[in-house]
Amino acid sequence: MAYSVNPPNRHKQTNNYKLMKNKTTYILAGAVFAASTASAEIPLTDDLSAYGYIDVVGIAGDDEFTSIDNALVAEFELGFSFTPVDSQWSAVAELSFNGTDNNFGADNFDFETVTITYAYSDELSFTVGNILSYQGFETFDATGLYQFSYLGVFGNPVYTAGYWVGASIDYVTDAYAAGVWVGDNNAEDASWEIFLQYTGIEGLTASFIYADDPDYETINPWISYEIDAFTFAVEYVDNEFSNGVEQDFLMLLAYYSFGDAGITVRFTDGDNGGVSGVDDFKRYTISPSYSFSDNVLGLLEYSVDDIDGSLGTVDQYAAELIFTF
């Protein structure tokens, strides 16, 4: 949909880091935005196609806070896209199964993008349904990330929104994109997000996202620039929660591609606002990756959190293999 340049912005919610995040549920699902997934498409009929991916991960850590040292099928995602050729209407439904405990209950199953879209023109579209947040340079699905973990402490995502039911209006051109999402959060006030993106200079993507919800307020600007085989990105996230917790994160990322291989180096300087017992921290990540084919990607990651206070440093290791279909 509206993400003309970058992969869809999604927060991966399928690793143990995310499970940790769930335990500290200061984050509420909120706003969002639908986008196509980075998966292949299998035509079922002229109008209906299926796509998805399998994400297998091995994780290890040296601290109790990481609660890791295991291997798992982090996610199996299956999506259906209904796009009649001569119609301005289209629909997408994505099902996400997380974990490997063979329990297909509510804890392991999520709807991701489940939307109905009306394309008024090539630029302007209207969408209703379960839509993904505009927030984040780091994508929701593993397929769009430059490494395994997220930029937050212990590899947690730092965005205040994931998927939520609402409606959005999006306008996209080659040079810029703009969008507004409004959703219901069961409170008196609505939850909403605005999204502005500039892509008018080759290689450059500059985005600004503002989210306002009865439970939080988030400001999230980020810029990425691609030159030759390099990608550079800078992201800032400022969260203020209604319970008084305040967080801010600054992330710097560099990615270098050489043929089918690549390497990511990332640094985060953040204040976690006391969540998980962490205030100020720094996170360093290095992650080599290799594309075995267009639909198979493998990567390794080493990250270390340098946390102010008694927690000290926490090492984390991950190996990931993703297969799209």
Partner: protein
């Protein structure tokens, strides 16, 4: 109106359930083998038919027009031309000369204009390739499987693999 609303989901369920008929892996492989055999048979039958048509057409031609060339090679020539014509109508992308017009940095729309729509349009996990067009088909004359690939990044061609080319085509 209400009745219509009821009918629609029912018809959708019916069509989905017909799609979801179970087949075992063995049955599926057998079906694939049968399709392969049918395609080969069809291709060979087509060739025979074309040959007989060409023979018939040539036999009706005055002797003076076929003089200087053996009847057999003339038939082969006619058959080859008919096959090429069929190939260029059904699979324009199989014709290598069409690929001369494809250049790096072209958009996906420009590529489709030249080669026709791809058989598969898929994204790539590679961070510097985000879309892959694949054309697949069989040579009309031989039944040989042919595949061609073009990869894009930000809607610009970055890699070209014409039919029969396994490695990226470098200009």
């Amino acid at each position: 109106m209400k009745r219509l609303l009821l009918i629609l989901p029912l018809s959708m369920i019916a069509s989905l359930s017909s799609l979801a008929q179970e087949v075992t892996r063995e049955e599926f492989n057998t079906l694939l083998q049968r399709i392969d055999a049918l395609e080969r048979g069809l291709s060979s039958a087509r060739n025979l038919q074309m040959e007989s048509l060409a023979t018939e057409a040539i036999s009706q031609m005055p002797e003076s027009q076929v003089a200087g060339e053996s009847r057999e090679s003339l038939i082969e020539e006619v058959v080859t031309r008919i096959q090429k014509r069929e190939e260029s109508v059904n699979y324009p992308w199989m014709e290598l000369t069409q690929w001369d017009g494809v250049r790096k940095r072209m958009s996906s729309e420009q590529v489709i204009e030249i080669l026709g729509p791809p058989t598969l349009d898929e994204p790539s996990l590679h961070k510097r390739k985000d879309r892959v067009f694949t054309w697949q088909g069989r040579r009309v004359a031989t039944g040989e499987r042919v595949e061609a690939i073009i990869r894009f990044y930000k809607n610009k061609v970055i890699e070209i693999e014409p039919p029969g080319d396994k490695k990226p085509f470098v200009f």
